[in-house]
Symmetry: D2
Subunit: 288 residues, 4 copies
């Protein structure tokens, strides 16, 4: 058994399917005396796209960074696949966007502190000041960026600047009640994960618990998804639901929904940071 | 303890809320030496409507049918409530509508035969002949009523005639792939329960599993609801979901969905037959 | 509709079943111009015990404290029932016992701060110092009470003293890794809720996730229960499970179990504080 | 895309872990122009055992039966692994054991008839005659083998003879209320799957729903497992649970449990027939 702190590499590949892909990637690693720890693949039969996640332990004699780069080149040049290879030592910096509600905010931060997440918290950006003290207690930089229709464009530029300065590799909208503009989305160079408090595509848009109560559904849900320019239409990463009844008013739905939102958002962020998610034609392949 | 075959009465009440309703109905029963076995109530705070389900054992000296009628009159005249009072000996006759798929059809019938349902099967109406032999094996009258756009109106009249002749008190659409016309719905004098293979309001309409696969959701669902003239918009009775992943193709969703559909539809039918459901402003109150 | 800050009363009754109980309690309230908001009852047919929870709004002219006392007397004297009547303004003081693990500790405290719980945090008692700083940040008195077999008896006396001084009306063992002695349990005058990390009665005792992994179960669970002198055998309040597979090692079970433990413990504490739980012959009746 | 009726091969391998196993099996297939459709592996880190399931499409020019045999030899001789290779055309013959209860019996048979199962029903063996007519309706040979303590040994020999004559490759105990003797288990040469109506290891043995009700649990469960000589201690294949409350009496638990039992047993049987299960040290690895 390797020392648990030896660096492992995880590759996420995708591209046109053709025979021999499993054998070729396994061989490439085997020839360099690497030891495959996990390998999982999927073929989208409709689109004929092959997806793979391989996690391996490079030989002690090899430089992991160099092996990662070489694998990436091999995948592109010889297999026609795009590949993202990440060492287990990587710790992407994660920015949290919040508004007033603190449940996802506290839950995420406590999970980072409990070492459940393979990343580091970078900063908190919020359009309200309610969570400023808590962020301070957690030792996190807090940026209060109030937004009005008039200031939105300027504020978003300021937010992008903060994110760049803090080296954000992922942004998480932890019940951030603002819609990011297409300009913001075009300018950022990192993925963004949002939690929507319904089982999308049901109840997209504003006030989903009110919508759910009005329709009289017997389940409420939560959906974590990557943000795209089309509101609530990005690739879905994780979803879960909870049973409700006629006894539950809108406040009850909010309270019970908070538990769903926390767990679903945390799962999506964890999967992303562990390099388990590939996106294709607005859908996700999650190698959990 | 009463003999288990003594007739019990179940009342479903609803009407404008006002103080004293719980005391008054309980008193009315107590004064006649009845024994309340279950009592459950709910108040819709938005609409200020009171709902109640009371199940009681009338005194042995009293005639249950007469007590039921008197309670109904009392509720209407003195409390301003509409009440439906049903004896535990009632066995509504249930008609099943089917097409080709047999899973809900078999499941429902086997539950009636296993005495899970407080009702009696009346007949099967289908627009395909696939289940004719099975119906015969179960000893159920089977009516093959193929439908084309041209014959729809005439066929629906024939169906209504069959339902009347078989004394249907409830119709269950067990994956019946036809839309009942407004004329049919206006003419029938019994409720109709449908199973839709999605978590409504998501994926209403045709081919919900295809829609779900295309959207890349991580949950599929099933919804049992009363049929109203607006397609897939009737009051929801029961819903459940099952987790799926990128590995599941549309066929998998169908297979896994069948298990959901069977259980959700059976639960809705059982609740209905046990007089547990009240409908108000397109929502259900289910006293389970 | 009453002002939402008007004091409501909640009664929990239990005693030998006999006809007329529902009518009598409802009448008693109605005669004093009270308005019943919720009423739920249950009869244990084996033991012939009647259980009821009634929540009502006393008339504005009446003194809630006096009405509560009078109801209690009425139930005891006239109905032969024991009754606990609690005003909605009551805020029992809750003590948290912890060891090293912080997940239930943080989760509970954040729920109190988010006003999800009808109670007030009194203090934290722990046999390790790991959570001392966090408790301080939350503004909670923290008592470090390390325990060895030799000191156990003395330390427990000290703990009882702390609990008395802080007016504890409930103690919650938030993954407290010590067994409370029969002497401690006999001396305390408040209920204690524990979270056990398995679906009891499976895997009682130490290291349940290790036991679960060794047995190869496909579900892990969590159980919240009242503490009695028999370890892990107290009345069960709430349980839930999560699916696991051969891929999950013991660490994974711990991580996934933490989410279960948090939610199940919080639900049990919330139900207790809302006066929803009656205990009878080592089982609970939960009026949720 | 291959014609969907082309024969695929599925190999289940297990043995001591060592570097290069993934590459070697993939290569072996690739060198014969096979196309890997799915590959999933797992390493038990405690025991250092490697498990793999590979499903591939052999080249059209190759004989699948011969390729299967060669792969098995390769795995054993060159990799030191035991391998079971099964063509997708295989249809093991399945015998059902039943007593009086029909829910799992009907459910399983209807799933075979709906082509959900990759096997063929061989016969029904029962110690009661209740299901004889239904078996006849389904066109299945029904063997009534009543058992008393005195006749048990002789009857089991008769049952083994029936199973041999009907070519049983799997036996399913569909709520068969008899314990198979060690002699029977030693004599049979096929696996046996049982459904136990509790979440094992809780409530092993007789009357689990009575045990569950007596303990006051808030969840009931069902467990499908391979049968071994130690009662209810065989390797667990699948488990699920359902929430219950104080309102549910033992009859309710039975009714609600039936839905669990059907789904859990069917899932286990389907996984087994699709060659997805490996057993190791009394646990299962399920490649679902």
């Amino acid at each position: 058994m390797p020392a648990s702190d030896a660096i492992r590499l995880t590759a996420l590949l995708s591209g046109p399917d053709r025979p021999g892909l499993v054998a070729r990637t396994a061989n490439w690693i085997f020839e360099r005396d690497g030891n495959i720890l996990h390998a999982d693949q999927h073929c989208d039969d409709d689109a004929n796209i092959f997806f793979q996640r391989i996690e391996w332990l490079p030989a002690a004699k090899n430089d992991p960074a160099r092996e990662a780069a070489e694998f990436q080149t091999y995948a592109a040049k010889k297999l026609g696949m795009s590949a993202l290879v990440v060492p287990s030592s990587a710790r992407p910096r994660v920015a949290i966007f919040a508004s007033k509600a603190g449940h996802c905010f506290h839950d995420l931060i406590l999970r980072f502190r409990a070492s459940e997440m393979r990343g580091e918290l970078a900063c908190v950006i919020a359009n309200h000041e309610d969570l400023a003290d808590s962020a301070k207690t957690y030792g996190l930089p807090f940026f209060f960026t109030p937004i009005t229709p008039k200031t939105k464009s300027a504020v978003e530029k300021q937010q992008l600047k903060i994110l760049r300065e803090h080296g954000a590799g992922l942004a998480v909208l932890a019940r951030y009640m603002q819609i990011l503009s297409p300009a913001f989305l075009a300018a950022r160079d990192f993925p963004i994960i949002n939690i929507h408090h319904s089982f999308l595509p049901a109840f997209a848009g504003a006030k989903p618990y009110h919508q759910a109560h009005a329709r009289g559904v017997k389940l409420i849900g939560a959906t974590a998804h990557y943000v795209t320019p089309v509101l609530d239409e990005g690739p879905i990463i994780a979803q879960d639901v909870s049973h409700v009844s006629h006894r539950n008013n809108v406040d009850d739905l909010h309270r019970r929904g908070r538990d769903l939102e926390k767990v679903v958002l945390a799962q999506a962020v964890r999967w992303h940071l562990e390099n388990r998610i590939l996106v294709h034609s607005n859908k996700t392949v999650v190698f959990d």
